[in-house]
């Protein structure tokens, strides 16, 4: 089993390497944008100043050298300095990663806590009105634009009812976390409800459930001992995928709620053409996704014996 895990990790590292290279290539082929972004809107820069800046940033070196320097910097944890704030990008990212991570955790917890039971209940009585209502809800949850839902939630819970703060991080308390987490989690919740329902229905029709019934087992015991685990295995991938893409998927929601996370930093940096910051954000987002995916795959290996012995 260790062999399989090791192989999976190697795969992940390879993907990381490719992504890192791609990010570098993407931003290094922009003609002149580095310098123009750096100096801002000023049109008539003394060409000597331009040349000095270019040299400082090693922009005239051949591509392989620049790549080498980039990787070396990366290994040291140096993501360059932001064009707008002049601070090291890594410093800016630190607190933001924490903020985004908190948001993602809260959102996925909400999605799992509501989505899984909902899908389960819907599957218990397929075709009933509960099932239809749940699935209508799910399709709506998938279709609702996050930022619109967020605005509506803001309007009702904050402005009208005054229960919750409208936006911002506050002191990092729970009250500020509720609305953004709800908004970010509604899509995944809907998806999980559907996936769970499908998984339970699929497992319920399986032969080994019939065997269990023929053994004289009560329905409750069949559900807890045989159905639940097998269905959960099917749902786990979806949970992982949703969680992994939350850091990137929260871009819009973070903007809306002025949540100081990686996503909102990305937006700001793109508007300001702050290339190092954009690079840093993208790297963090993609790496997080890869990390979660790898962890989910490994968890799968631990849970499903069929995958273990390959």
């Amino acid at each position: 089993m260790l062999m399989v895990i090791a192989r999976r990790l190697m795969q992940a590292l390879l993907t990381v390497a490719v992504v890192v290279t791609l990010v570098f290539l993407l931003f290094s082929v922009i003609p002149g944008s580095f310098v123009t972004s750096l100096v801002g809107e000023k049109r008539d820069i003394d060409p000597r100043v331009m040349a000095r800046i270019e040299e400082q940033l090693h922009l005239n070196d051949p591509l392989p050298e620049r790549f080498g320097r980039y990787v070396a910097d990366l290994a040291r944890g140096d993501l360059g300095s932001s064009f707008s704030t002049r601070r090291p990008v890594i410093d800016m990212l630190e607190s933001r990663i924490v903020a985004s991570f908190r948001l993602a955790c809260a959102a996925i917890l909400f999605a799992v806590a509501i989505g899984l039971p909902l899908g389960f209940i819907a599957a218990a009585r397929p075709g009933s009105w509960i099932d239809m209502a749940a699935m209508m809800g799910a399709v709506s949850g998938l279709s609702v634009p996050g930022f619109w839902f967020g605005l509506l939630a803001m309007y009702f819970f904050s402005l009208q009812l005054g229960w919750l703060p409208t936006f911002g991080y506050g002191q990092g308390g729970l009250r500020h976390l509720v609305l953004p987490a709800l908004t970010l989690g509604i899509g995944p919740m809907a998806l999980l409800a559907r996936t769970t329902r499908a998984a339970v229905l699929e497992v319920r029709g399986a032969d080994f459930i019939r065997t269990a019934r023929s053994k004289g087992m009560s329905e409750t015991r069949i559900v807890t001992r045989h159905l639940a685990r097998n269905a959960f295995v099917l749902v786990l991938t979806t949970i992982g995928l949703q969680f992994g893409s939350m850091l990137g998927g929260s871009v819009v929601i973070e903007s809306l709620f002025a949540w100081p996370g990686v996503g909102s930093l990305l937006i700001q940096s793109v508007s300001l053409r702050d290339i190092p910051a954009v690079q840093g954000c993208i790297l963090v987002i993609v790496l997080f996704f890869l990390l979660i995916n790898t962890l989910v795959d490994i968890a799968y290996m631990l849970i499903d014996p069929r995958i273990r012995y390959r």
Binding site: A206, D207, F208, R210, T211, A212, R213, S214, K215, G216, M217, S218, R225, H226, R229, N230, V233, I303, D304, P305, R306, Y309
Partner: protein, 326 residues
């Protein structure tokens, strides 16, 4: 006499609810099995033999229900018993093995746990004690290296092995009746004989009666003491095994027997083609009022089309449902 019968099905009727109507999938079925007896139930796909088996175990679901007759198990009618009472019989006194061993086991549980579950459920044993018994069960079904294999997962076993595990599960609590629904159909021919032998040996040792369901008349007639033949939801003939071959009473049975390819027959009779019964089995919704085999019967008579024949006894001790020969 009736105390000897572990199972006595009388006038069983199973209905299928579809499109707002009730269709009689199985009708007027009479079948009895004595303690320790091995009885075969033969018929084509869709004739209702599996439905009959499921109704005995109380596993009919959804649109299928028992709507008439009695199923007497050890003297008591269980046809409409509520599920919580049936649960105590299922696995414990009435056991079932199904056709497809590859998917019949939970892939996430060890086979030891799945066998042990029987003891935890019906004998109140602890998991540890159940596991010990599970090893014994595995040895009984001749799985080599039982004490190691007990921790294996189903995907690590071959089809034949998995079916042995199913047998172990089914016989774990020494049931009075074992229903084997096409238990060897999905297995390699070479293994089929082994598994059948195993089932029969183990059941004989425990005094367990066996209801062996199959579409293979040849197989069933070889190993069973009595054979019952079903067609389109009706039990058309039931006789001691030798009689089914030597003196079949119902035209359908005769057709089945005749269509069995036999070694050396061409040499003797000069036959060039395999015998077959012309026509096809009608779907449930098209069952008529008369004998259901009449459309295909070579010896059909006018009364066959108006009303289905009653079950009448035969001199051999069996029964038939046919107007031929009175």
């Amino acid at each position: 006499m009736s105390e000897d019968l572990i199972l006595n099905i009388e006038d069983l009727r199973i209905s299928l609810s579809a499109n707002g109507e009730d269709y009689p999938a199985v009708e007027g079925l009479n079948l009895s099995i004595a303690r320790g007896e091995v009885v075969g139930l033969v018929g084509e796909s869709g004739c209702g033999k599996s439905l009959t088996a499921l109704s005995v175990a109380g596993l009919l679901g959804g649109p299928l229900r028992v709507t008439g007759g009695q199923i007497r198990f050890d003297g008591n009618d269980i046809a409409r018993l509520p599920n919580r009472n049936m649960r105590m019989l299922r696995g414990n006194r009435i056991a079932m093995i199904f056709q497809e061993p590859m998917t019949a086991l939970n892939p996430l549980m060890t086979i030891g746990d799945q066998i042990g579950e029987m003891f935890v459920l019906h004998r109140g044993m602890s998991r540890r004690a159940a596991r010990k018994r599970a090893i014994e069960c595995l040895e009984q079904v001749q799985v080599p290296g039982a004490s190691r294999r007990v921790n294996d997962f189903p995907h690590q076993l071959s089809g034949g092995m998995r079916q042995r595990v199913m047998i172990a599960i089914a016989l774990a609590c020494d049931p009075d009746l074992l229903i084997a629904d096409e238990a060897t159909t999905a297995l390699d021919v070479t293994i089929q004989a082994e598994i059948i032998e195993l089932i029969l040996d183990l059941c004989r040792a425990r005094g367990t009666a066996v209801l062996m369901i199959s579409h293979d008349l040849g197989l069933v007639a070889r190993v069973c003491q009595r054979v019952a033949v079903m067609y389109a939801g009706h039990l058309v003939e039931e006789q001691p095994a030798e009689k089914i071959f030597s003196d079949p009473q119902h035209p359908y049975t005769r057709g089945l027997v005749a269509s069995l390819p036999r070694l050396g027959r061409r040499l003797v009779a000069g036959q060039a083609k395999l015998a077959e019964i012309p026509g096809v089995v009608p779907p449930i919704v098209e069952y008529g009022k008369g004998c259901r085999f009449a459309p295909r019967c070579a010896e059909v008579m006018p009364q066959c089309l108006t009303a289905a024949p009653e079950t009448t006894p035969l001199s051999s001790g069996g029964r038939k449902r046919c107007y031929l020969n009175g």
